[in-house]
């Protein structure tokens, strides 16, 4: 008899892991087509990086500390990218991709839908606003194609991040209004978000001092794909 025990993420056999890896390979292919350089980031991230990104203010309820003051478990991949490129001038637009394990202190969890620990492939773009906007459209269509091929046809919907403070309700409304965050939602699982495209404007460029050749902060965008959700719901024979 197999005894159930609490799991922050599903335990997978090789076949199940292969499904996830194949989905990731498709998204990685998209990143390669956009000229991305592949990076490998640690699971831990310095608290000061998250403070600089204002994550600790906006989402303290999701943050998981690895030790009291210095290190946290990464809540997303892209914060590493901004920290890694901090204080640089980008002569050309840059695309970075990485797959990483992410951690969020969700109040409830369900395998393949909402996990404490999950794998995410992110494609991070840094450059001029017009290029970011054009790239967002390309990415949107490409993610749709990959999802359709996996039997996960859905719809893009305006969305907002789960800000902690009630006073941040305005931020959430602004995100929705300006469509800076759109999610690719799968209706068959109640609108489960499979991927998101998040346009940050010059926010991270300003916070991490990443600038264009003219000295203005770069605009950034990240395309985030929740690999566990895709692997859980994809039609395995199509992946």
């Amino acid at each position: 008899m197999i005894r159930e025990y609490p799991q922050a993420a599903p335990v997978r056999c090789l076949n199940q892991q292969t499904v996830l890896d194949r989905i990731d390979a498709r998204v990685r292919g998209l990143a390669a087509s956009m000229g991305a350089r592949e990076m490998q980031y640690p699971a831990l991230i310095a608290r000061e990086v998250l403070e600089q990104a204002e994550y600790t203010q906006a989402f303290p309820h999701l943050l998981m500390s690895a030790c009291p003051t210095t290190w946290c478990l990464s809540p997303a991949v892209c914060y590493h990218t901004y920290a890694h490129l901090a204080h640089r001038t980008l002569e050309d637009p840059m695309v970075v991709t990485a797959r990483g394990r992410c951690f969020r202190a969700e109040t409830g969890s369900a395998p393949g839908e909402r996990q404490i620990e999950f794998e995410m492939r992110e494609i991070v773009l840094l450059g001029a606003q017009a290029w970011i906007d054009a790239s967002a459209e390309t990415a949107r269509l490409a993610v749709e194609t990959i999802a359709r091929d996996a039997g996960l046809s859905g719809d893009w919907e305006a969305a907002e991040d789960p800000f902690f403070l009630p006073a941040a309700a305005g931020k959430a409304l602004m995100q929705r209004l300006l469509k800076v965050k759109v999610e690719y939602q799968w209706p068959q699982a109640g609108g489960l978000a499979l991927a998101s495209i998040n346009r940050h404007g010059p926010f991270f460029g300003q916070r991490f001092h990443i600038v264009m050749p003219d000295g203005t902060p770069v605009h950034t965008m990240c395309i985030a794909v929740g690999l566990d959700r895709w692997a859980h719901h994809a039609r395995k024979e199509q992946v």
Binding site: A168, G170, L173, M174, R176, L177, K179
Partner: protein, 101 residues
Amino acid sequence: MSNFLAPRVENREAFAAALIAFIEGPLFARHGGSRPSATVDVSTPLFETGVIDSLGIIDLLAFVETATGRPVPMRKVDMRYFGTVDRITRAFWNDKEAPTP
């Protein structure tokens, strides 16, 4: 929670005028948004230019809901309906359904 009170208005033009007065008056005074050099008119982009920021939008929604007497559904929190005073007026003011005294 917003504590601004929307004035009682009776038609579309009065609603638009009251909205502009609200943005230029109490909203700026309270939030100090990056006010454009020119005054706000019915076609001034409210969000791209920073006239209304993430604090101001809560009060803006409260104004619209109070003045029209109806809640703003989340699906209508969209630039098609909120981009300018004119769009807000067209989307949310209905002379036939103006709130009764």
